[in-house]
Structure formats: C-alpha cells, structure tokens
Amino acid sequence: MRRLTSLVFFAAGIVSAADIKVVANPSVRVAQMSTDELKRIFLATDTSVEGGHVEPVFEKGGATHEAFLKQYLGKTDAALSIYYRSLVFTGKAFMPKMLGSDADVLDYVAKTKGAIGYVNAAASTPGTKEIAVR
C-alpha cells in the first residue's frame, strides 16, 4: 500500500521525506545517521564517516531530488548549484556526481566505494544498503 501511495505521489510530482530512501555502498560503515550528519556529507563538509571516505551522489533534478534538498539540506536546487560552484571555483571542493535517474544513482552507488545517494522509496535497491536517517 505504501509503495502504491508513493507511486501515486511520485507521479503527481509530490514527494515527501517518507518517500525518499538514502542508499549507500556496502563499504560505508554505518547503517544509520542523523539528519545533521547526512547534511554535512551532502554539503561536502564531512568527507568521512567512521574513518571511511564517503562521496555524495545527487540526482540532476526531479521530484525526489527537490524533496531531498528541501527536507535534508534546506536548499533549493538553484541554491545548491551556487553553493557547490562557489566551492569548486575557489578551489575548496570537487563537483559531486549528479546523475539522471534513480537507476543511475543505484548503479553508481552499488559500484563505488563510499558512495551515498538517495532514490525514491519505491525503487528496489540491489547491491546497496539502506541508511536509516534519524
């Protein structure tokens, strides 16, 4: 039922935090993290978790992406773009991976050590592990 509800809202372009799944490569050493920890990883402030390197993976756009930014990072897509460009063009960070779909994110996360991404909760996530966000 939850999956059906998610699909209906996704089709309507309305996605809430409950409809987002945070996924990680199995090499990532935690199974849960706080919203603050997740925010610091996706804003490139933290580059390691429990001593292991982590790499944030974004979607390029779409309802899941917008909901993730709003819920966990408190930024719009335009603000996120400016944030990362300000780091990249001052030599303070590397531009993160931005992929076109849930499938692309899942494929990259499954294959890349330390990668952490987010997908719609309805997506099946073989080869990755889900991270519970407290």
């Binding site: 335009a78 001052t90 590397f94």
Partner: protein, 394 residues
C-alpha cells in the same frame, strides 16, 4: 586590439574545449574536472565615468573569464589551479593571472590544510567576488568588494587551516579558516590610478597578511553569522613624476568584517559591515609623510527567486573613505542603491540587468571606481548607471 582578440579567442577556446570534453575525465583512475566561466558586460551611466570605463558613452569594456582544473589525488588530498583574465576599463588589461593554485589535505573533517596560492576568506564574498554567476548582482556592493582592488584582496601566497566543528544539534556548527601569507601589488588595478592622480607612479609592492574567519552555522535553518579579521603589513614605492625622484611607503592595515546571511526557500537576505583603519608612512614625497584613514563600508541586500528562471533583488551599499572626516561630503562617501533582475536561462547561462543610483564619488585616495583619469573635468554629485551582464559557466 590583436592582444584583445587573442585573449578573447583564448577564453573562448578554454571554455569550448573542456565543454566538448564533457569537463570530467580520468587520469590514472582518478577523476579530473575542468570548469570555466566568462562574462561580458555593458555599462551606461548618466554623468560620471565609473569603474575606469567610459560609461557615460556606454562601454562594453567589461569582460572577464577563467578556467580551472582540479583532481582528488587521494581521498584526503586534492590539487587544482585556476587562471583568471579580465579587461574592465583600464583594470586587468587582459593580463592572465594565476587566480589560485592549491594543494588541500583534509586530515579530519574538523581540520584541513591548504597551501599555495589560496583564495582569501574575508567576509561573505571576498573569495567569490569575481564569480558573477554565483551572485544575484551584476556588480557586487562596491563599498565592500571594489572591482579596482580585486587582485590585491582575492588571494594570498601561503597557507590556510580550516574546518567545521559541529557543536550540537541545538547550537549548530562553527566553521573556521585561519591563514597567513604574502600579497602582491596589482600593476593593473585601482592603486595604480590612485597614485597617478596624485602625481606618482607605482612600482610593484608586496605585503604580509594574516587573518581569521569564524562563522556560526546557526540551528535556525539558513542563518549564518560570522566575523573576519585581517592584518596587512606592506611595502611599496615608485617615482614622484614631477621630480623624477623615487619614493617609498609602508602600509599597516587592519580589516574587521561582521556579516549575516539568511537563505530560506526563495528568499535571500544579507548584511555586512566592514571597518578598515590604515596607516601609510611615506618617504620621498614632498609634503606627505603620514596618512591615516579609517574606511567604513556596509551593505544590506534582499533577493527573491520568483521562478526557476527569474530572481529579483536590491541592495544598498555605503562607503565612507575616512570616518574621521565629514561623512556627508560627496568627496568622502559613495552610496549606491541598486535594483537587479537576474535571468537564469539554464544551469550554464545567465543574464542580468541592474540599475545603480549612486550618490558621491569618494576621495582621491579611495580606489573605489571614480578616477580623474576618466573624469578630467571633475565629478557630478550623482551617477545613475545601467549595467547589463551576460555570464556563462560550466
């Protein structure tokens, strides 16, 4: 003219080639990214000529661009460099410069080290002041980020330590940057023109700087407040033109900046205040041995993103050349009220239209946009200016 054409071709090539190469590739299994930007502006003013351009006749001499390359060599070590070039009126004159070139090693998330030519963290925008695509405005508040002085404030040859320390969920986190290094004079910047209009040429000087920036990422979503402090100790000199004799001077300069930035949804508010007392000691300049000034500057801004493609905003900016003198004198202040519309065509292209309503023109020592070289018959009290600027980045 050939030099200009060559520079334009170089910037265009630098932008086009990496874009064609998709901006990221692998070397020895490690990703390498290339990014770049370029902008072209047009400025038309009602009266005074501003920012070393012939703006009263309309000027397209408002071009800049840059390209950078960077790579994470290991999970903790990142290297990169950026070349920057500009021609804004008589500023820059198409001389490419190494904007930054750093090796950055992050020991822990709360402690990292950068070394090389490093962008100087001071206030909200010092390190991003020449990246127009990051800002709502076609021209940043010139009280705080004068285009004339960009090259002498933008970066230092030395090192930073930096990090972010989470305090707790209720108190947010603290970001810090502390740095020291050398800064170099700009042969193609505003101090050159300030010296010339006082009858002196200027040879390149150098100085030591040390500074710190501390910002509190508050638990209120989107609210950051902070402060920066910088000390500069510099030596320079040149020739007294009428006599053909050399002169030297030293400068002791301290800058303190306090700022706040609030971004919530589509709304963006900022406020920034800076004070800058400085002391110059001259040798070899007739009638001038000691010059003390206390510069003040502040600005506030409001911007609202109306849609994905349109952002509207306004800022008010005030510069006092010397707070120890009469603030109301036109020759001691520059006040600027602006209105801006920014159109984001896509992620790579933007266009801005901006109106400036400027009162005053600052002092002969200001290096804040108004020079006798472009205004040989003196200044009018007010300057209204339209700025159009198109930018590209990848």
């Amino acid at each position: 003219m050939d030099k200009r054409k060559n520079a334009i071709a170089l910037v265009a090539l630098a932008c086009a080639v990496p874009a064609a190469l998709h901006a990221q590739f692998l070397i020895e299994g490690r990703p390498v990214q290339i990014h770049g930007f370029a902008s072209q502006g047009f400025a038309y003013s009602s009266d005074n000529n501003y920012l070393t351009m012939n703006t009263s006749a309309g000027s397209f001499k408002f071009t800049d661009g840059g390209v950078n390359i960077s790579s994470p060599v290991t999970d903790k070590l990142r290297v990169g460099a950026q070349i920057y070039i500009r021609s804004i009126g008589t500023l820059g004159q198409w001389h490419p410069e190494l904007d930054w070139a750093v090796a950055d090693y992050k020991f822990k998330d709360w402690f990292g080290v950068r070394a090389g030519k490093v962008k100087t963290t001071l206030g909200l925008y010092n390190d991003t002041q020449d990246l127009e695509f990051l800002h709502t405005w076609a021209i940043l508040p010139q009280s705080l980020y004068p285009l004339d002085l960009r090259a002498v404030t933008i970066s230092h040859l030395g090192g930073d330590i930096y990090g972010e320390i989470p305090v707790n969920k209720r108190l947010g986190s603290l970001s810090y940057t502390a740095y020291a290094g050398r800064q170099f004079d700009d042969k193609y910047g505003g101090f050159r023109d300030v010296s010339l209009q006082q009858g002196r040429s200027r040879a390149g000087g150098t100085g030591w700087i040390a500074g710190v920036d501390l910002r509190w990422n508050s638990p209120v979503p989107g609210l950051t407040v902070g402060g920066s402090w910088l000390h500069e100790s510099a030596v320079s000199g040149g020739m007294v033109l009428a006599r053909g004799t050399p002169y030297t001077f030293t400068k002791e300069d301290q800058t303190a900046v306090f700022y706040g930035d609030y971004m919530r949804g589509n709304l963006h508010l900022t406020g920034e205040y800076s004070r800058n007392p400085r002391t110059f000691r001259f040798a070899g300049v007739p009638g001038l041995q000691l010059l003390r000034q206390k510069g003040l500057a502040w600005s506030t801004s409001v911007a609202y993103r109306v849609s994905k493609h349109l952002e509207l905003g306004t800022y008010h900016s005030r510069f006092i050349a010397d707070a120890n003198k009469d603030w109301s004198a036109l020759s001691n202040h520059i006040y600027d009220q602006t209105v801006t519309a920014r159109v984001d065509i896509d992620r790579h292209w933007n266009f801005k239209a901006e109106g400036h309503f400027i009162d005053g023109y600052g002092s002969i020592n200001s290096a804040h946009g108004f020079y006798l070289a472009q205004n040989p018959h003196g200044y009018q009290p007010k300057t209204n200016m339209l700025v159009l600027r198109a930018g590209f980045n990848f």
